[in-house]
């Protein structure tokens, strides 16, 4: 079992965006912790707010409400003025390396920038550090003078990972790191990430919409729907014993290739409807218009996330708070 030391704790996190058409509640009261050396998975469809959670943790923008505690310190305030030491500790890898890498900079320049910003070559030998980074991400050294555009998708993503790891972080937000890649390349990148996690004691917040991938990388998984966590559990429990109707719907929609996988799917909860825009979130449980088990109370009361079984949390009126009652 893993040690229960929390590296990052998010409590009551809210992120609202004001638009001309109203307030978008992208993240609405989300709480979870990521343990040291853990891969914590965040799944959901587009518009569920999963990336926004990652961005707020990164400090790309500040939260509307709630706290983010990192290594015991509250980091939710003053995101624009985060100390360099903190920025060094928390890094991010974006989905599409074609747009997250500057096409006019060589791979050397891309990898060198974070090293220079954080003065990470005390002897001034940045060239040597860059080449070491390239060895680490398994790129031939002679690629250093090439541009990202000349590389394949997998190689570009490796550069993006190298750039994130250059500062020696302890926490990395992986925002759909392999969604833009082919499966054979995805496998290579994922294996690289898993190896680095062991090697450098990293904790990951792994964001993806791909449930099959999540099954294989995360220790715990939370599923988001319209800015809220619908269910949170250990990975094996999450996949073998899903509770929330939305989790079941997603699982039964996953395309699979083996009979064993087919057997694992919950009794077919046929997918219906679409995720509504975050501008007009339905009242009560936001999933109720698509839910096959909808009850009267679902459109009236927002279900809260309760611990239904040990370390298995669910926000659904089908599961009265058995453990919560005491």
């Amino acid at each position: 079992m893993m040690s229960a030391e929390e590296i990052l704790t998010v409590k009551g996190l809210k992120k609202y965006f004001k638009t001309t058409r109203g307030v978008v509640k992208a993240v609405d009261d989300v709480s979870f912790s990521v343990m040291k050396n853990e891969t914590f998975g965040l799944v959901g469809e587009s518009g569920s707010g999963k990336s926004t959670v990652g961005h707020v943790i990164m400090g790309i923008y500040g939260p509307t409400a709630g706290t983010i505690t990192f290594m015991g310190k509250d980091i939710s305030k003053g995101v624009g003025r985060r100390p360099k030491d903190l920025k060094k500790q928390i890094q991010i890898v974006f989905q599409d390396p074609a747009s997250s890498l500057n096409p006019r900079r060589t791979i050397r320049q891309i990898l060198e920038l974070p090293l220079r910003v954080h003065h990470l070559a005390p002897d001034g030998d940045y060239d040597k550090r860059v080449l070491e980074m390239m060895d680490l991400i398994e790129l031939p050294r002679e690629f250093a003078e090439r541009y990202p555009g000349e590389q394949g998708g997998g190689e570009k993503q490796a550069v993006a990972i190298g750039r994130a790891l250059a500062t020696g972080p302890s926490f990395v937000v992986l925002d759909e790191p392999t969604s833009a890649l082919d499966v054979s390349i995805q496998a290579k990148i994922i294996n690289m990430l898993m190896r680095f996690q062991k090697e450098f004691d990293l904790s990951y917040l792994f964001i993806t919409h791909n449930l099959s991938l999540m099954r294989n990388v995360a220790q715990r998984v939370a599923i988001m729907y319209l800015g809220k966590i619908a269910e949170l559990a250990d990975t094996s429990e999450f996949f073998t014993n899903p509770l929330h109707p939305y989790t079941k719907m997603l699982l039964s929609a996953v395309p699979v290739i083996t009979p064993e996988e087919e057997a694992l799917k919950p009794e077919k909860v046929t997918s219906t409807g679409e995720i509504t825009g975050a501008l007009n979130v339905p009242p009560g449980c936001s999933f109720h218009p698509r839910c096959p088990f909808v009850m009267d109370m679902c459109s009236k009361m927002v279900p809260s996330l309760i611990e239904y079984k040990e370390s298995h949390y669910v926000a659904c009126h089908l599961y009265p708070s058995a453990l919560n009652a005491k």
Binding site: G154, A187, K188, M194, R215, L250, A253, V256, E260, E261
Partner: protein, 325 residues
């Protein structure tokens, strides 16, 4: 074999680019029977879409068909006069593209775009606007779109991704009486929406008795849909088999690695991917195009391209492991 609707034989397609000649398709063959559902899987850049565009004759201007034939009910599509081709596209075959946002014109309402197609596909004379609209509404209803009247009056950006793809399906239904080509129809959509779209497509295709070519890099999405599968790699067909056979008994080293690399819902970790990458089409030689990444590659794999060896029961593999060189 008399029942073939479409037969592509030994197709070669090159692209002329600034750097030289990209030799993309190299001897691609495939056949689709009447009411048959065929799938093509392969990774990005393997030539799936190029093959389909060659069939529809919508290749880019810098593409050169360097060899082969595409026979549609006995007529070679590559030789067909424009007039005849237009008639075929109006009433016999149609294509659904990956990205519905790009497939729809953003400055015209859905109604204008759909009614244009309906006008020329469904009617021969001069139909009234009302007749055309009634037919358009019916098509949208077939694509399981609620409030078709409102959708006709909307611009594409006012619809969600799933609804846009349903509109594209409705459009293609107008002209596809025989062959429907679906190029990654669910890829740009969410899982639950993709699931809905695939179910809708399957239902429509079966109701109307259409032949289908479904292209996807999502292996799972194709599996439940088609009866015959082709695997493409770097512009070549490496394997062809009935769907169940391909999954239970994949033979080509590429197919095997590809199936292995898919993360499983049952867990067990992510296996190693495939080392290396697709060779450059610019410098490609006549050898087996997978040789540089293949763990079983022998010397002659680097000098000769393997033909498709027929192993019986519709299973064909282009690999020297399964036949004499």
């Amino acid at each position: 074999m008399a029942q073939q609707l479409l037969e592509v034989k030994d197709l070669y397609v090159n692209y002329r680019v600034y750097e030289g000649l990209l030799k993309v398709l190299s001897g691609v063959s495939l056949s689709v029977g009447m009411k048959e559902k065929v799938g093509i899987i392969g990774e990005s850049g393997c030539g799936k879409t190029t093959t389909m565009k060659a069939i529809m004759r919508i290749l880019a201007a810098n593409a050169i068909v360097a060899g082969g034939s595409i026979s549609y009910k006995g007529n070679d599509l590559l030789q067909l006069r424009m007039q005849e081709l237009t008639r075929l596209r109006r009433t016999n075959m149609s294509m659904i593209f990956q990205d519905p946002t790009a497939a729809l014109n953003p400055v015209f309402k859905v109604g204008e775009q759909l009614e244009d197609i309906v006008h020329y596909s469904e009617f021969t004379g001069n139909p009234t606007r009302r007749e055309v609209k009634t037919k358009a509404v019916e098509l949208l209803k077939n694509a399981a779109l609620p409030e078709p009247e409102r959708i006709l009056d909307s611009y594409p950006f006012q619809l969600s991704g799933g609804m846009r793809q349903r509109v594209c399906i409705a459009m293609s239904l107008a002209s596809a009486r025989e062959l429907l080509i679906a190029d990654e129809p669910g890829t740009s959509l969410d899982v639950t929406i993709e699931d809905q779209i695939m179910r809708l497509l399957k239902q429509i295709v079966e109701e109307r008795g259409l032949s289908v070519i479904l292209i996807s890099h999502s292996i799972g999405a194709v599996k439940g849909f088609v009866t015959k599968l082709y695997v493409m790699y770097a512009g070549t067909m490496v394997e062809e088999a009935p769907t169940e056979e391909l999954f239970s008994n994949p033979l080509h080293p590429y197919t095997q690695s590809l199936l292995m690399a898919v993360p499983k819902l049952t867990g067990g970790g992510v296996p190693e991917g495939i080392a290396g990458r697709i060779p450059s089409y610019l410098t490609i030689t006549s050898a087996c195009r997978y040789a540089s990444r293949c763990p079983f590659a022998k010397e002659h794999c680097n000098t000769n391209a393997p033909p498709a060896f027929d192993l019986g029961n519709g299973h064909k593999v282009a690999c020297f492991l399964y036949g004499a060189r």
